[in-house]
Symmetry: C2
Subunit: 146 residues, 2 copies
DNA sequence: CTATATCGTTAGCAAGAGTAATGACTCCAG
DNA sequence: CTGGAGTCATTACTCTTGCTAACGATATAG
């Protein structure tokens, strides 16, 4: 069960192999998600869910996007009834975002649907392969923070 | 050195953990790439490099994109002198794509630049962690094909 | 109290993806 | 051999999302 290719022997080769695997898998996961919301919208909604009472500026910074882009995304999500904009308690320039019940519900469904496809693929792997991925997951997580 | 979190014990938990790791890392890698060409363009150019003499339709299927989208991408790459469109030998409806020398050169540079960031991060891992990723890479690759 | 800075938004532009429709060509049934 | 159905690439159009520049309201420093 040695799946190692010659590509992965050197460090540069490993970087190359990971790069293509990661981006292809990411594209694939995006395509498998439900189509009610775009990736951008899910990302923003998810960030609001994790850090409640965010302002648009903080959200834009978190999602690595310019404020005007986030303004539009927020406008859509608000129009769809998924989040609310309320005045900031002390600074009237600012706005505070929070999820609505519908937003929370939709986010959970979306997450479940997206993971369903991946879980299905994982079930087709051997136990050894699953073990390797279990060990790899936290390392990959750390790579994106570096 | 047990990096396993409680999240990764169940299969659904593993799927969830992998999903966020993969998409975050993908976003991060995209941001680190050189900005001479977009990800779409790099993807198309790379596919032509790997499977020479592709037609636009095959390329669109390979990149999981609709033909009209690929037509536009091809037009841009051709205008930039990175690939050429030539008539198909037997079927005059079709077109055959190939890389130019400039396209080949640019692709190699781009690849080197994008992988540099990831290779740097990999170098900061312990040898054990690198081993895990070496084993994980081909499994991840297979997941995206399923 | 004035000047500057900050925050969110609006306006306008470009890139990328999709669908529908078209034109050129191939191929098969009769 | 020919007429019609199917195939391939392209064009036209729409939608989403990103950016920058400019603005209007508000907060804060001097």
């Amino acid at each position: 069960m040695n799946m190692q290719t010659s590509q992965t022997r050197s460090r540069a080769g490993l970087a190359a192999a990971l790069r293509v695997s990661i981006s292809r898998l990411s594209r694939r996961m995006r395509a498998e998600g439900g189509h009610s919301l775009s990736a951008t919208q899910i990302g923003a909604l998810g960030a609001v869910a994790r850090h409640d009472a965010l302002t648009p500026g903080e959200l834009a910074a978190h999602e690595k996007v310019q404020p005007p882009s986030m303004t539009r995304t927020i406008a859509r999500l608000e129009a769809d009834g998924l989040l609310t904009r309320s005045p900031h308690p002390t600074d009237r320039r600012q706005v505070v975002l929070s999820l609505t019940a519908a937003g929370d519900k939709l986010l959970k469904e979306e997450r479940r649907r997206k993971e369903a496809w991946l879980a299905q693929r994982l079930a087709e792997l051997t136990p050894e392969e699953q073990t390797i991925l279990r060990q790899a997951a936290p390392i990959l997580e750390r790579l994106s923070h570096g």
